[in-house]
Symmetry: C2
Subunit: 91 residues, 2 copies
């Protein structure tokens, strides 16, 4: 079962990397960027009989290792939602 985890800094936390990228884009002529934040994408293939079970398992991984829940929020998405783009696709 494929599970996608999105890890983002919480809204109040300063995103230094995002600010640097936004500034660099501005220098390249992309002045139309109003906000930009950088987070982590973690794609996990986990042995689980159902999507629910996989999601619960990955949620536990997030709480124990993948996310720093003091600074970061995370979102878990499973394949069953059928909107996960295949790696490499430009949609």
């Amino acid at each position: 079962m494929k599970v996608r985890v999105l890890v983002r800094l919480k809204p109040g936390i300063l995103d230094v990397q995002g600010a640097a990228v936004q500034r660099a884009l501005g220098g390249l002529g992309f002045g139309d960027v109003r906000e930009l934040r950088v987070g982590k994408l973690i794609e996990v293939e986990v042995d689980a009989p159902t999507a629910e079970r996989a999601r619960a398992r990955v949620d536990e991984m997030c709480r124990r290792l993948l996310a720093n829940t003091i600074l970061e929020d995370y979102t878990i998405e499973t394949d069953s939602a059928e909107h996960l783009a295949p790696p490499g696709a430009v949609r």
Copy 2:
């Protein structure tokens, strides 16, 4: 217009960070992880009249700065697909 970019290492490229995380998870008792890869999540708020225009603009940003297209693939998702989870949501 909010646009989400997912940047991943191309399939053939060794993901050292992913391998390290997978190993650490194994040490915590998560032996059911078959594969794990780490990528970047970039969320951009861009001034554009339509989703198509925003997507085209962000595609240009990816090619010029956000992704290293020799090593990385990227996927662009727009809000209009209406499946983007709000930051902080656990789905």
